[in-house]
């Protein structure tokens, strides 16, 4: 962790947050537009699309909801599906909570709203590198949220007029995830955990429909990783110890 603290004035917090958030924003544009186009075809007005994006802010469950609306599914069925699709956020929220010690509950409540696959992965990396704080993380959450809402509404208004698949923009989020995964591979144990998770996810995704394979594979891999760390400590020795990363927030609380 770096010793010099990042500037705390609002302008630099906002600037840092926006700078960090751009790959997510870029990636949200094609997905948001595509969602808007689909939703509009399913009979939703731009206002209705915006309402869903603001209240839900979860790409995959929104796509599923629109598809289910098209088949005439009931509210309860769609809500239950959305719940299972988003259970993976339990894990993400748990992992990021380590960096949010001692923050007022009011802000946690606002922070939780913006936890997505993308903001989670990005903020976690930034927190670990240091020079990052919850206000900057919150900025990332909300800037990306604004981009998501805007792109879905624009998609609903006239997304069909915008050429799809332009400039490989569909790959923006995949590129970002690949790099964020690289940041996570901080030692043999993490590589091993990633490999186990990837293999388990592929196998499970072929066996079971839906996306519960994400949670299942992550839990299996992290548990296996923990077992390996305990059973063969020498194998995990090259990795950054887990305790290292919580040192700073804990110290801050004591003051």
């Amino acid at each position: 962790m770096s010793d010099h603290a990042a500037p705390t004035d609002k302008a630099s917090i906002f600037r840092d947050g926006v700078r960090a958030a751009w790959p997510i924003c870029l990636g949200y544009v094609p997905i948001g537009l595509a969602f808007g186009v689909l939703a509009q075809k399913a009979g939703l007005s731009p206002l209705a699309i915006g309402l869903m994006s603001v209240l839900v802010f979860a790409g995959s469950s929104q796509f599923i909801a629109v598809a289910m609306l098209g088949t005439g599914a009931g509210i309860a069925a769609i809500v239950v599906t959305a719940f299972t699709v988003n259970l993976r956020h339990l894990l993400m929220s748990s992992a990021i909570s380590v960096y949010l010690r001692g923050i007022h509950k009011r802000w946690l409540t606002l922070f939780a709203y913006g936890i997505t696959d993308e903001s989670f992965a990005l903020n976690l990396v930034r927190f670990r590198e240091g020079n990052w704080d919850w206000k900057r993380a919150l900025t990332v959450n909300h800037v990306t949220n604004a981009f998501w809402v805007a792109s879905t509404v624009i998609g609903g208004l006239g997304g069909a007029l915008i050429p799809a698949h332009a400039f490989g923009i569909d790959y923006a989020l995949m590129g970002m995830f690949l790099c964020l995964l690289v940041y996570q591979l901080r030692g043999r144990l993490y590589v091993l955990t990633g490999l186990i998770a990837g293999a388990a996810a592929v196998v499970l995704s072929l066996l079971i429909p839906g996306n519960s394979y994400i949670v299942a594979a992550s839990v299996i891999a992290a548990t296996a990783g923990l077992y390996i760390r305990r059973r063969w400590p020498s194998l995990a020795a090259s990795s950054t110890p887990a305790g290292e990363r919580c040192r700073e927030p804990v110290e801050r609380n004591k003051r």
Binding site: A48, I78, L91, M92, S93, S97, L100, L181, L185
Partner: protein, 108 residues
């Protein structure tokens, strides 16, 4: 037009997506966690990213089937190596987009 049913749907979806985001944050950030849980959570990001990425690269279709020859995977290899080498997030995103665009043009 927005019906009451639609508002209820959005509210319901909003609640069930918000709760899994909020509960762990609220429950875990206010206390010191046992050592094993910290170590476990420390492994979650690598696991979850890998679990998000890999199936979308090597499976396709509905129901999903193994697909080991597709542009997503083909592009992912050099992009991953580039990320390993440069550790540049912006560079990786831009390279990924460029290669994916080229792959779409030339490989179809």
């Amino acid at each position: 037009m927005i019906t009451t049913d639609y508002i209820l749907l959005c509210l319901g979806m909003g609640i069930v997506t918000y709760v899994p985001r909020w509960v762990p944050l609220f429950a875990l950030s206010q206390r010191t966690l046992p050592r094993w849980l910290e170590e476990w959570l420390d492994l979650i990001p690598a696991a979850i990213l890998s679990a998000l990425i890999l199936p979308s690269l090597v499976t396709a279709g509905e129901p999903r089937q193994l697909s080991l020859w597709n542009n997503d995977l083909l592009v992912a290899v050099p992009v991953f190596l580039f990320a390993l080498r440069t550790r540049s997030l912006g560079g990786t995103v831009v390279l990924g987009m460029a290669l994916y665009w080229l792959a779409g043009k030339f490989l179809g």
